[in-house]
């Protein structure tokens, strides 16, 4: 009888875990994937066809927690700094889906690569006081083959020549770009007139039928929704491939509570988990494995490590999001945001070093400033819009006029968020989840760099939107700015970061004294435990993280396979 149940147990089935499972099973390894959430994605029986649980349904997706987690079961807590006391708020704090497929389910699948400079910002730009800007322990060139591999795996649709700032690449995108949202063409032309370089966003959404799944129907229910026709490839493509090898066992409703170690404490022998199919007393089960791959996301991975004191003193620290700057244009006509893939165009100019940003930095007394990728997009949720307008006689006229749905268009800048040791995930001292485990707590306040970059971007983007025809334009941010003490009392969750891009809580590095995982993404203090999610990011960059975390998972898993079982 074997002393293990599988070669590797993977914790989490999102883009990182799915990619790791695909690489490992392709190499002949046996894998068990444990997912805390429910399965709405694909059949567990061969040939693992989509379940088609998703619809154009705002109530299920946005009002009733179909994608999980339910904050009554899994509360998280938030505070800005320790000065706020133990917490300001309890509830839904940056909740990414807790379901088979993880964050890949709800995302609108924008999958840009990082720039070469993103991996060596400390060397190219230098330090920033009050932040911990460091180089990554690998270069873009090290990751490029893995970017290419995951683009092929996910079937990314894009135009390789479109972005003049893009890093070099060894292969074109496997699929052509999808349909443009008409208003994105209008705002892209305006951005070009302002000297910017917008381009069609690379997306992990089928632009044509591919990999046994149909092309996107541009139904408009993209960002924030599961795809009704499974045109979104990330992560169903990787999970299907892993499952179809016959060497992958996917177990939903399996909540990993412990990494089991040998007597030395430096080697994992598997994991224990709660079988959440059982209620109210879920059984504790164990999977024995040669290797443990953590891919639970940058919130849940450190939470698991912290419960066991694994990974060292830096676990949870250097939490980053993207500092989001929303510039809203209100147009005198419909903008067409009710159909399409939520975002079809991007521009990167505010990430690129140049005289304008240098002047901004100089004036602010900062060594440099970077913004982030800017998404040209819209949303269309009428229920959400209705809750925004107050009750009473003005409600229906406001809904008909629809400044916040039919007539609006938004530039969302995913601003680079500098890592700070004080920003972190830790364990709340008294709030627990439904199973008695300490809730994760966010402590987060932005660095002045983010505020300066945002303050620069807002007026620039307002001018572009006005040039595109907007009657009015304004800018808001998340977290909001200004005097927040009133909000902190009345609506504390409203000042928590809204960004779902959570990164950097188990940093990778070449030095065990300043990082949690090695360049191969192994825990320094338990080296058969890999971390394959955005926890390992050293800096946030200003780009959507999914493609890079998947490329890192691909690289780490490939290296693991190369080292043998």
């Amino acid at each position: 009888m074997s002393d293990v149940d599988c070669d590797a147990v993977v914790v989490g089935s999102g883009p990182g875990g799915a990619t790791a499972a695909e690489v490992l099973t392709a190499a002949g390894w046996s894998v068990i994937v444990l997912e805390k959430g429910r399965n709405h994605l694909l059949s567990l029986e061969a040939p693992h066809e989509p379940l088609r649980h998703f619809a154009n349904d705002e109530i299920a997706a946005h009002r009733r927690f179909l994608l999980g987690p339910d904050p009554l079961l899994e509360p998280r807590t938030y505070r800005r700094t320790e000065a706020d006391g133990e917490r300001l708020a309890v509830g839904n704090v940056n909740n990414l889906p807790s379901t088979v497929g993880g964050g890949g389910i709800h995302a609108d699948a924008k999958l840009p690569r990082f720039l070469e400079e993103d991996f060596c910002l400390r060397s190219t730009r230098g330090p920033v006081e009050g932040a911990s800007v460091e180089d990554w322990p690998l270069a873009y060139d090290d990751l490029e083959p893995h970017y290419t591999a995951v683009e092929q795996l996910f079937g990314v649709a894009g135009d390789a020549e479109a972005n003049p700032f893009a890093a070099w690449r060894s292969a074109p995108y496997p699929l052509p770009p999808g349909d443009d949202m008409p208003m994105a063409v209008v705002t892209s032309e305006a951005a070009e007139r302002a000297g910017f370089h917008p381009y069609r966003a690379p997306t992990g959404i089928n632009s044509i039928a591919a990999d046994g799944r149909p092309a996107c129907t541009d139904c408009g229910y993209c960002g924030g929704y599961g795809c009704p026709v499974q045109a979104k490839s990330d992560p169903i493509a990787a999970l299907q491939r892993a499952l179809r090898t016959g060497r992958c066992d996917l177990r939903p409703e399996s909540y990993v509570t412990e990494i089991v170690r040998d007597a030395s404490g430096r080697r994992a022998t598997g994991v224990r988990y709660l079988d959440l199919r059982e209620h109210p007393e879920p059984s504790v089960r164990e999977v024995r494995a040669h290797h443990v791959v953590l891919a639970a996301g940058a919130f849940e991975t450190p939470r698991l490590l912290l419960r066991q004191g694994l990974g060292g003193d830096l676990v949870g620290r250097y939490l980053t999001y993207h500092y989001q700057t929303f510039t809203v244009g209100i147009f005198g006509r419909d903008t067409g945001g009710e159909r399409g893939r939520s975002v079809t165009h991007l521009h990167d100019d505010l990430l690129i070093d140049g005289p304008g940003l240098r002047a901004v930095a100089r004036e602010a007394g900062l060594p440099w400033v970077r913004g982030g990728v800017v998404e040209h997009g819209a949303g269309h949720m009428p229920v959400e819009e209705s809750t925004t307008y107050g009750p009473g006689e003005h409600h229906l006229p406001s809904m008909r006029d629809s400044a916040l749905r039919r007539r609006f268009w938004v530039f969302t800048m995913q601003g680079e968020d500098l890592p700070q040791a004080a920003n972190r995930i830790d364990l709340d001292p008294s709030v627990t989840d439904a199973w008695g485990l300490p809730a994760g707590r966010v402590t987060y306040a932005p660095h002045r760099h983010e505020l300066v970059a945002s303050a620069h971007a807002g007026p620039v983007h307002e001018a572009i939107l006005r040039d595109a025809g907007a009657q009015a334009a304004f800018t808001a941010t998340s977290p909001p700015q200004g005097d927040l003490d009133l909000h902190a009392t009345a609506n504390p969750l409203g000042i928590a970061p809204a960004s779902k891009h959570v990164m950097g809580t188990a940093r990778m590095g070449a030095d065990p004294t300043t990082s949690v995982v090695s360049p191969e993404q192994r825990l320094w203090d338990c080296d058969n435990v890999l971390v394959c999610d955005s926890s390992v990011f050293v800096t946030s960059t200003g780009y959507n993280p999914t493609l890079t975390l998947a490329a890192l998972a691909h690289r780490a898993s490939t290296l693991l396979v190369g080292g043998g079982r």
Binding site: I59, V229, L276, H279, V383, S386, P391, H395, R406
Partner: protein, 150 residues
């Protein structure tokens, strides 16, 4: 409909219509009643199911479940949540709602007016029609209301 005790309807209807005018005519009261009794059905009427699709623009397969199953822990959370809603509506009916209660009513009236008709509101898509919102391409099963198959 047994959710609301005698005399509740008038007060709750008034609150819903005050929050989103016209919501009751579009089925808001039925929406709230179905929500509060969602766990009386199996599967619970929390998430309308789209059924299986024959193709990207196909229709739900006949006989497909009209509601998605909840896991046991999700049932626990929804039981807790619905109990809270019920208490809030009691206060509304008694004429003593809190600010949070009125916010809940506003949210439910919004869901009932502009959410999918499968949940009992937005009768005939009338809520969408009055604001020019386009019908979804991939709606959940329209038979997902009263008398839905389990």
């Amino acid at each position: 409909m047994t959710t609301f005790e005698a005399g509740w309807e008038a007060a709750v209807s008034a609150a819903l219509d005050a929050a989103v005018p016209g919501s009751v005519e579009l089925g808001a009261l039925a929406y709230v009643e179905r929500l509060l009794t969602a766990l009386d059905h199996d599967p619970p009427r929390i998430w309308a199911a789209p059924g299986r699709w024959d193709g990207p623009l196909g229709q739900p397969e006949p006989g497909a479940p009209a509601w998605l199953e909840l896991g046991p822990w999700e049932r626990q959370a929804w039981a807790q949540r619905l109990a809270g809603f019920r208490e809030a509506y009691e206060r509304v009916a008694d004429g003593a709602p809190t600010e949070d209660d009125l916010r809940m009513v506003h949210h439910h009236a919004s869901e009932a007016t502009y959410g999918d008709p499968a949940y009992g509101g937005n009768r005939g898509g009338g809520g969408w029609a009055r604001i020019g919102f386009p019908e979804p391409l991939h709606p959940p099963a329209r038979e997902g209301g009263e008398g839905a198959t389990a």
